[in-house]
């Protein structure tokens, strides 16, 4: 059974189509990444899955239930990492997490969660005395404390410094090993590559690509690119067999090609290409 099923999801505000006929599913134990530029519809989609927003049309099931009319029992099975909004602060890290643990039937151990998010040295500090990055780790801890089957993370590392981001990724990898299903939105492509099993790219409310992270955009968009300089001119050739091509190239020009490079387009290039193609009106098939 899929942990998350989305079929033909649309969300329309007055005269703005925020999400347009989006379909995907997430298997249990999988980490699914929704990628897209700001304002593309990532947050709207994840908030519909979390039950914070209503939808205009389409079918949505999370753990077999419709989040729009979800029960308290359903809420105990999902975890939401909220964007720190300044609502916490007066109580200490430990007091706050302990309190939230008491809301769930099967909470994780408070000290283990504090340890997992790397706040053991700060457990007795009032949350407002922590740095922004540390406060966000409290948000992560509160998303985890109920021991959820599905965890939602909406742009979890926006504003993190690189070191904190890497530490955060480690926390997520630990959860992946436990078999937790994770749904993540991000606009950082390295994050998607580091954490995601599968993912989709959403642009202007439409899902323009869907699949394994390493295969997003299709085989063609990942064709290796050979570039060199010949007679002072920059040349580029895309080919499935770059070594063969380079052999013939050096035979042809009779010398070592100048500034020779072979590049396999990474997710970022594929992604930018996808967005550009979509915005130029080109339809992309998955």
């Amino acid at each position: 059974m899929s942990a998350i099923e989305v079929v033909g999801l649309s969300k329309r505000y007055k005269d703005f189509q925020a999400v347009d006929d989006v379909s995907f599913s997430v298997s249990r134990g999988e980490t699914f990444v929704l990628l897209g530029p700001n304002g593309a519809g990532k947050t709207t989609t994840i908030e519909i899955l979390e039950g914070f927003r209503t939808r205009t049309s389409g079918e949505v099931k999370v753990l077999g239930q419709d989040p729009q009319s979800a029960s308290r029992a359903f809420r105990a099975r999902i975890g939401i990492v909220q964007q720190s909004a300044g609502d916490l602060g007066r109580l200490s890290v430990r007091d706050t997490i302990t309190h939230f643990a008491s809301l769930y039937p099967n909470p994780r151990k408070v000290e283990e969660v504090i340890e997992a998010v790397g706040l053991h040295g700060k457990a007795s500090e009032p949350i407002k005395k922590l740095s922004g990055g540390q406060q966000h780790r409290v948000d992560v801890a509160l998303g985890l404390i109920g021991n959820p089957e599905v965890l939602f993370l909406d742009e979890p590392t926006t504003g993190f410094d690189p070191e904190v981001r890497r530490a955060f990724w480690e926390v997520i990898r630990g959860l992946q090993q436990e078999g937790m299903t994770i749904m993540l939105t991000t606009h950082y492509l390295d994050e998607a590559e580091e954490l995601g099993h599968r993912g989709g790219v959403i642009v202007d409310g439409k899902l323009v690509a869907l699949g394994k992270i390493a295969e997003i955009g299709g085989r063609d968009s990942r064709k290796p690119e050979v570039s060199w300089v010949e007679a002072g001119v920059q040349r580029i050739e895309r080919t499935d067999s770059p070594s063969l091509f380079i052999g013939e190239l050096s035979k042809r020009i009779g010398t070592e090609p100048e500034n020779l490079q072979v590049k396999v387009p990474n997710l970022e290039q594929v992604y930018l290409q996808l967005i550009a193609e979509h915005r130029n009106g080109v339809k992309i098939e998955d």
């Binding site: 505000y13 809420r75 105990a76 909220q82 609502d87 099967n106």
Partner: protein
Amino acid sequence: MKTELPSILGVGIKRIGYELKSYIRTPDAVFFNFFFPLMMLVIFTAAFSNLEIDVPGAGRVLTSADVYLPAMLAMGVLVSGTQNLGIDMAIEKHDGTLRRLSGSPISPVSYFIGKFGQVFVSATLQAVAIVLTARFVFGAYLPETMELWLTFAWVFYLGLLASSILGIAISALPRSAKSANAVILPPILILQFISGIYLSFTTLPEWLQNFASVFPVKWIGQGFRAVFYPDQFKSVELGGDWFLDQVAIAITIWVALGVVFTLLTFRWVKKS
């Protein structure tokens, strides 16, 4: 694996502790909600320290502490309930607290048990502090019969319930966490002026008395005067009596309307 949710009451009681801890760690709440009526009692009693009202047949003379004690207790009920919850819940609506809770399996009933519990504990301590200060610092007279103290108890707790519910209702007014104080405080101050807390109620024009009688504060003040003033003073009240039955009815109507209003309108977050 255990799947049974923690009990609504059990979580509610935990919320009371959580709310109280946050309350005492918020200096402006402690100052403007908890200590403010006590401070006003001290200021008014000191300012009018020459006041002496001889009541024929009462067997005692009323000092400024006697005069202001019921008023400041009524202010405490208003401030600990309406002002405290109005500001607190307006902030929680806008700062992400309710949104965060709505993502957890907590029942709104547990949340409200926490809120009312915090109000009841802090308001009780506040009333004790006001009564003890009036008695032992300013020598105010305290009632000597069980009957009067029972009257005090029901007016106080019923009034606190109405005051808290009024707070939940007005928490809908501010449009942001930042504006909560600015939006909630003025109507509460006006309510105090027209309800006989700063000014004697019967000196107000009749139309203003009628308007103020719509709100529970006037009735709470009247109930407290019945407890702490000599019985001969009832002739000064509107209609020449304490009308405790009307006090009970007026406050109960507020509680009932408020409960219905809250049940109909409360949402963790507005879904859009």
